[in-house]
Point group: C2
Chain length 468, copies 2
Amino acid sequence: MAVQKPSIPKGTRDFGQKEMAERNYIFDTIKSVFRTYGYSQIETPAQENLSTLLGKYGDEGDKLLFRILNSGDAFSGIDYESFRNEDGSYNSKALSLKTCEKGLRYDLTVPFARYVVQHQNELSFPFRRFQIQPVWRADRPQKGRYREFYQCDADVIGSKSQINELELVQIVDRVFTLFGINVLIKINNRKLLTGFAEIAGFPDKVVDITVAIDKLDKIGLDAVKEEMKERGLTDEAIAVIEPILGLSGTTAEKIATMRSMMNGQSASGLVSEAGLKGCDELEELFGFIEAAGVKQAVEIDLSLARGLNYYTGAIFEVKALDFPIGSICGGGRYDNLTGIFGLPDMSGVGISFGADRIYDVLKGLEKFPAGLTTSTTLLFANMDRAAVAYVIPVARALREKGISCEIYPDSTKLKKQFDYADRKAIPFLSIVGGDEIAAGVVNVKNLSSGEQKQFAKDDIEGIVAFLR
Amino acid sequence: MAVQKPSIPKGTRDFGQKEMAERNYIFDTIKSVFRTYGYSQIETPAQENLSTLLGKYGDEGDKLLFRILNSGDAFSGIDYESFRNEDGSYNSKALSLKTCEKGLRYDLTVPFARYVVQHQNELSFPFRRFQIQPVWRADRPQKGRYREFYQCDADVIGSKSQINELELVQIVDRVFTLFGINVLIKINNRKLLTGFAEIAGFPDKVVDITVAIDKLDKIGLDAVKEEMKERGLTDEAIAVIEPILGLSGTTAEKIATMRSMMNGQSASGLVSEAGLKGCDELEELFGFIEAAGVKQAVEIDLSLARGLNYYTGAIFEVKALDFPIGSICGGGRYDNLTGIFGLPDMSGVGISFGADRIYDVLKGLEKFPAGLTTSTTLLFANMDRAAVAYVIPVARALREKGISCEIYPDSTKLKKQFDYADRKAIPFLSIVGGDEIAAGVVNVKNLSSGEQKQFAKDDIEGIVAFLR
């Protein structure tokens, strides 16, 4: 066979020892916090039936699904001519449905909904689960955007209580505090966005209004107003919404102002029941947040709208305060996620940590703990076969105490063995030769301090103490 | 959208909380042992270029690869008529190559070889890595055979020393000792199989001889001899091999007998250099194994031949002694794994743990440790909003001490909340109402012993001690 120059598909990555240690630190920290909040881990298969995935992420999402060719004779029995478009090309979308029944997981939320419905009789509700697995999207790769990346989600389903929202905020608070990253947790409520549209007199323009005000930070107030106008809002409607965009004061003051507006005190005089409900929910949530003593900054952001398609209550977004990067965590409440799979009226709320961006922040701020990546503590140099046979039981006893050690497998030049220890940053070295064997001892040297100690061959506790 | 009855592709599985806890126990145990032997974790992408995968697993393996449809317009620009077979059907193999450039990882060995070649300048050799990731095979699903399953591999590459073989044996020994599973570790050497063919005078019939003697356990000596004859061996050649098949005695005696046979003392009088080298390697390895004090049973099995296609030295296979299931771990040495990717002369040796079968053995022998799956330690019942606000800081402080707790999110009937604790087997319950709030205390009840204790609200250490 011809020699191939090896490569991996674009948008995918190999993770070496160092990155794995750093990524495991991220996942382990998040997992440990999820667990203290009673969330337990599940895993779902990488492949889902396309019928489970299609139509859940919009037309754009459908295009980004990786489809798996049916095994066996996928291409026979198809009348290709009947799949011609008018311009003579083939209808790839229709042909992909003929040849592919499965696709790769696009996120963890839809598989979670599918899981809950499929296993509903085995689960105790409210059901809390976390899931940390890769997802795949056939997106155009670019800096920070990959075709395979891990998601790290916690969701609870089967409870409408704001306690769930609180606990997700607490999880975010705790995780980033453990990471040593200062964040701002922004919170909104989809019912308020509905309320804006209702008191503006355009209840069917929630999406238009939201898309426009979502850009406030980037394009400024005048441009937002212009966009709302282009999207069909009247000057009167915009005049109702404008005061909301400039809302200042404490959280309590903001909620009080919104409540009075939703209650008929805006320029339109219209009342929004949804908006009032949104105020109730936010008020309750912020009351809980105060009782909990959340350490990180939390604020209401009325322009926050992520994932408008399915959020129905709280909306969360987390940004790092000291590092310029997009959202590093987000989520919200969805009232009917499992409806599409036949289980209606299940309200859920969840968050998703963006592992790749958190990695970049920890790297950028140099917040990874020291010593994460040292895999081997002690290297036994290889002098000859007799010396190796002598140290094998010592190495074994140390390993059973949890010490990571290596015996250099080949009896090559010591220089080469030292270089190996050096390149792998192994902190301790043991060189045992005929003299040590005769004396029944083992030498261990701390390569950074230069300190060297001699131990009886069976003084495993002594060696362990020196290595720690 | 119409309601769908949810399902997952055949041969794939969901893992719920309990199975995840049990599977994590398996993986964590294996990982901890890998680490003490200086193996460090890497991960490679689920998708590899088909050019990396094709031709590495034989024709049968190529058919079992899951192929990923190219994104975008995968079906245009193809002249389907030119892909017709003579019988009018389409050539699916050729069409799949036109429409699919990527496939799902089929094992961890080929991605490892690709990784080593691609990253050779960043690695320190001998390079030890472990990798625990799912692989996918479009095999016909049946009991115990899945289309998605985890492999759990450790390999070292860049050293020919038998120390590496020893350490893999020690890893196997330690892992199954930690699991409490008694195993038999069977060892052979491919060079001996070559030697059998050479001293029998049929050096080109290694595969035929091996395939036949591999069946010794199942079909018995006479049938094996018959099969060798059918495969073209003469009676004289079979007479050379027959004594090997009945070899008994200690390991040292077996090696001594084989050495003399390979050295011209068989009926043919032929000498096999490969066979002698195989004897040297086995002798050295068993010498190391004796020095190391391996606890589990280890024996030479001259009929062992797994993965004959690429093993060139040691061959390992591990069977559970007290549970009837196939091999639960296996591996061997391969001298030219990275050659196909342009890096010749790199010898490596590795093992792979079969997580699904180990799961079945642990389950069947009831060896999973107790208490693996309790995710939540303490449930705070939800009496009302005031009581919840009162326990929120208590729950938070306990969580920061690593205690997993839940506040029941809805203030429903206590019966329902108790049932929830019962179904989730949560061992401790706290019910806080107006009296406790007035007294500044928290009650905690051990649900199995019935013992109940009252703590000052801020006596977190006291509560933690009661929970442990």
